[in-house]
């Protein structure tokens, strides 16, 4: 019997896991995919929002600003990249000016610090590549950028180090009620739990329906993002936002934490919860919008693109709290700014569980920090020499574009990477200019030999995405096995 079972290993589930790992309780996290962070938390803009965007009367508005302030500590403890680069919200038309003023006031009411109006002159000095037609901009220095998947991996590694049990590749299929708790059935196992936290992202209403706690609906809203060539590095140094509309924050220019430029997302309601496709019309919308405020950006600079689904609840706010079913809690409808708010959601939920009678005694030996993955590319010559003499695997370069060594790939596998995408997102092999052309076969060899799995069973991101077929076998892998 677990005290708490978390369903879903996105940023919310991972943050919950780490938060609950502080206490002397038994916690499990069940994730459908073979690795954590493979849902929406992998495919977003990676922005830690400044704090002034969402209305303070909404839950997302409250947790956005609290969450924002928690990222410095998290990034330091969990050793992932985070940088407060600041944000500029642009007014392009006269009617936008009011909106900027309102947002500034809203932010100030919430306690967001440093909000400041910038004149066109100041703007031109600070961001000379933006259009000269901008009337005014609201600068918010509290906005930052992270690698959202690195954050997931760091959170879960820390949670596991403190005793949380992680079960990947275990989609929850049904939930039954029992005396004193709930029984969860995955495709492989059963788990008993006193409290269940439903953090299943775009599938959260379906999971809630398993116990009849689905008094909300999730409406997936797709966002396409386009990653641009290094040529454009530095074209802007802050996050660039247009004046927002009702359904979205608009198309942004995002200097990512790795220094590349990304543009997006679109906002389009879709029916299919698996629709992660990018489209010609999406690209059109993104680049038409962006060119209005930064004319130098062109669609031709795209090096890769992806889409993610926002889990928008019909109430248009986060759905966090107990359900009519005893012990079953929803942590659902976590649309944007869900990444920003995730650490605040975790503490909010912990407090709520305490209120529901879960005893939360702090562990004396809780470890806030993890060592975090080594990054050869960032080491000095001295550190490199030391690393290689400690472990010769640092002397074998696997990915030349991002300078990733065998030692880093082995570390990733040891900490849960099972797929090509998993390696890519953890160590960045395959993310550089050649996009995996060179390192793929080496990474597959390492996965295969370390995990003792034949090459034909290795996947891009889990079952069904097998990469290579055996020579003689006439049956496609995964087909009717």
């Amino acid at each position: 019997m677990y005290d708490v079972i978390i369903i879903g290993g996105g940023i919310v589930g991972c943050a919950l896991a780490r938060e609950l790992s502080r206490y002397r309780i038994r916690v499990a996290l069940l994730e459908r995919e073979v690795e954590v962070g493979f849902g929406t938390s992998k495919t977003n803009s990676g922005i830690i929002h400044a704090g002034h965007h969402a209305h303070p009367d909404t839950l997302k508005g409250q947790l956005e600003w609290i969450g924002n302030q928690m990222w410095d500590d998290l990034a330091r403890d969990l050793n992932f990249g985070f940088s407060r680069i600041g944000e500029l919200l642009l007014a392009m038309q006269a009617e936008d000016l009011n909106h900027l003023e309102e947002l500034k006031k809203q932010g100030e009411r919430k306690g967001v610090t440093g909000l400041e109006m910038w004149s066109p002159k100041r703007l031109r000095q600070e961001e000379p590549n933006l259009s000269h037609d901008i009337l005014q901009a609201l600068h918010a220095p509290t906005a930052g950028v992270v690698n959202p998947y690195e954050a997931c991996f760091g959170l879960i590694e820390c949670a596991q180090q403190n005793g949380v049990e992680l079960f990947c590749g275990q989609p929850v299929l049904s939930i039954t009620r029992e005396d004193g708790g709930l029984l969860i059935h995955t495709s492989r196992q059963q788990f008993r739990g006193r409290f269940i936290l439903n953090a299943a992202g775009v599938f959260a209403d379906q999971v809630a329906a398993m116990v009849g706690a689905d008094d909300f609906k999730i409406l997936p809203r797709k966002g396409e993002e386009y990653m641009l060539d290094r040529r454009l590095q530095g074209i802007v140094t802050r996050l660039i936002f247009p004046t927002p509309t009702v359904s979205s924050k608009g198309v942004l220019i995002i200097p990512t934490v790795d220094g590349t430029i990304m543009v997006g997302p679109t906002a389009e309601d879709v029916n299919d919860r698996e629709d992660l496709s990018t489209t010609f019309s999406g690209a059109d919308k993104v680049f038409t919008a962006v060119r209005r405020y930064c004319p130098a950006i062109s669609e031709r600079d795209t090096i890769t693109e992806f889409a993610g689904l926002r889990a928008v609840a019909d109430s248009n706010d986060f759905v966090i709290g107990p359900s009519p079913i005893k012990g079953f809690f929803n942590v659902a409808g976590i649309q944007s700014p869900g990444l920003t708010a995730a650490p605040a959601i975790a503490t909010y939920v912990a407090k709520m569980l305490r209120g529901e009678g879960l005893a939360l005694d702090e562990k004396t030996d809780w470890q806030a920090k993890i060592e975090g993955p080594p990054r050869f590319a960032l080491m000095s010559a001295e550190e490199r020499r030391a690393a290689i003499s400690r472990d010769p695997a640092f002397g074998r370069v696997v990915c030349r574009c991002e300078l990733v060594t065998e030692a880093e790939v082995l570390y990733a596998i040891k900490h849960g990477a099972r797929t090509l995408d998993g390696i890519k997102f953890r160590v960045r092999a395959g993310m550089g200019r050649c996009q995996g052309g060179f390192c793929t076969s080496r990474v597959l060899d390492l996965l295969s030999s370390t995990l003792g799995v034949p090459l034909t069973e290795l996947t891009k991101r889990g079952r069904g995405s097998e990469l290579f077929y055996p020579r003689d076998d006439r049956i496609a892998p995964g087909d009717g096995l």
Binding site: M227, E274, L276, S277, T278, T279, F280, G282, A283, E299, T302, I303, T304, E305, F306, A381, R384, R385, I388, S389, P392, F394, G395, R396, V397, R400, C401, L403, T405, R433, C434, Q435, G436, G437, F438, T440, S441, L455, T456, T459, K460, R461, G462, R463, G464, S465, E466, L467, F468, Y469, P470, R471, A476, G478
Partner: protein, 419 residues
């Protein structure tokens, strides 16, 4: 083999593919004593190790060899010349004073000083990002070169029903290979109105296997969440944009990309060598020396070749000149600069000297029939057919060149008619 490693070398060759091996040979022949080849793979031979089809060496050895056989001959003669080959070792950085930093599986962090350096890092394939295809991001989309490596070196198939985008040679060769492996190749689709492969490969790899080649066509959408399920194909207009209302569906589980090669020039750009945007490689003189004295370049890192024999020829020369410079001997500098004119996509080298016979490699921008190639106002050669995928090789003797001095020579092709 000499035991690694000394502190200083006459010539350090970066990359042990056919270019690097031939450069080392050339350097040895020209009298360099201490020569080091560094390659990041566990074996020398470069891309040849995965090219198990025959067709290599027709020019150089006058016989048809497979890629590994061709490489092996060079490795043997290189080793017999006391060249040190350091494999599983990655050249991290070359400083302007030719101090070289290497990360090695066996030796850890190494530093060596070179008197001259030959860059022979080869090229890499363009990937999906380069062509911006909308749709899903499933498994089953990969470069033809990766598929070649997996089939030939690991005995694995990329899929069962295969579509190939781009008509580059690697794609064409893989079309044949996969047919022989029992796969179905549904078609080769090319964005341009002409093929990018050698005519010989179009005949031997597609025609002989009845694989259709569709020109002016692209992938407009990739379907399948986990694994490729089908493609939306569309013809393109003269801006190369897909005409979506004329699209059709192709069922397949794999999309191989053969959409071009990019010279691997990270080290060169870090050295701030002058680059040629047309080739993607460094600018070089007639002795294949880059803008930094003592640094030479050859093979695919300089410009993408279609025949390994030309790589060998070019690299032998680069090695020879590198050895001369290492020994303090220098040829007279160039005094004629070469410029690309009408219909010429690229040319190597970028300058010439009239003191000896010169080899110039060129590519045209589009297929041209019955045309005249001119260099300046005194050289003319008639060609029945020129196509972008086949590199043109010219030798220019002193008798043509010594009448020029300090001039910009323009190379142009004047078409009789457009093919």
């Amino acid at each position: 083999m000499k035991s690694p490693l000394q502190k200083t070398y006459d010539v350090v060759v970066v990359g042990g593919g056919p270019a690097g091996l031939a450069a080392a040979l050339g350097a040895g022949e020209a009298g360099a004593e201490d020569i080091l080849i560094v390659d990041r793979e566990t074996e020398a031979g470069g891309i040849l190790n995965q090219c198990i089809h025959s067709g290599f060496g027709l020019h150089h050895f006058k016989e048809e060899l497979t890629g590994p056989e061709y490489a092996e001959r060079f490795i043997q003669s290189v080793l017999s010349r006391q060249v040190t080959i350091l494999t599983d070792s990655y050249v991290m950085n070359i400083a302007p004073d030719l101090h070289i930093e290497v990360i090695s599986g066996d030796y850890g962090h190494l530093e060596v000083q070179a008197k001259s350096v030959v860059l022979a890092m080869g090229c890499r394939e363009r990937t999906r990002g380069a062509i911006r295809t909308p749709g899903f991001r499933p498994a089953g989309v990969m470069t033809a070169g990766l598929a070649q490596k997996m089939v030939n070196m690991k005995g694995l198939l990329p899929g069962r029903r295969i579509a190939i985008l781009g008509s580059g040679d690697i794609g064409l060769i893989m079309a044949r290979r996969l047919m022989l492996e029992g796969c179905e190749v549904v078609g080769v689709y090319e964005l341009m109105p002409f093929s990018n492969g050698l005519t010989r490969n179009l005949v031997q790899c597609l025609d002989d296997f009845a694989i259709p080649l569709r020109l002016s066509t692209t992938v407009a959408f990739i379907h399948g969440r986990d694994r490729v399920q089908r493609l939306t194909m569309a013809p393109v207009d003269d801006q190369l944009m897909p005409i979506l209302n004329q699209s059709w569906q192709v069922a397949c589980d794999t999309l191989l990309l053969s959409i071009g090669l990019i010279p691997e020039n990270e080290l060169s750009t870090r050295l701030r060598l002058k680059m040629d945007p047309a080739t993607g490689g460094p600018q070089v003189t007639s002795t294949l020396e880059t803008s930094l004295p003592g640094v030479f370049a050859c093979g695919n890192v300089l410009h993408v070749h279609d025949l390994v024999d030309f790589v060998t020829e070019e690299a032998l020369r680069a090695g020879r000149f590198a050895a001369e410079v290492a020994q303090g001997r220098r040829r007279p500098g160039d005094n004629i600069s070469l410029q690309t004119g009408e219909n010429i996509a690229s040319c190597v080298p970028h300058s010439l000297s009239p003191d000896r016979e010169q080899v110039v490699y060129l590519r045209v921008k589009r297929p041209l029939k019955d045309c005249v190639l001119t260099i300046g106002d005194r050289y003319e050669k008639v060609f029945r057919m020129l196509i972008p995928s086949e590199m043109i090789r010219l030798t220019l003797g002193p008798e043509i060149l010594d009448r020029y001095f300090g001039e910009h020579l323009k190379i142009e092709v004047h078409p009789g008619e457009v093919a």
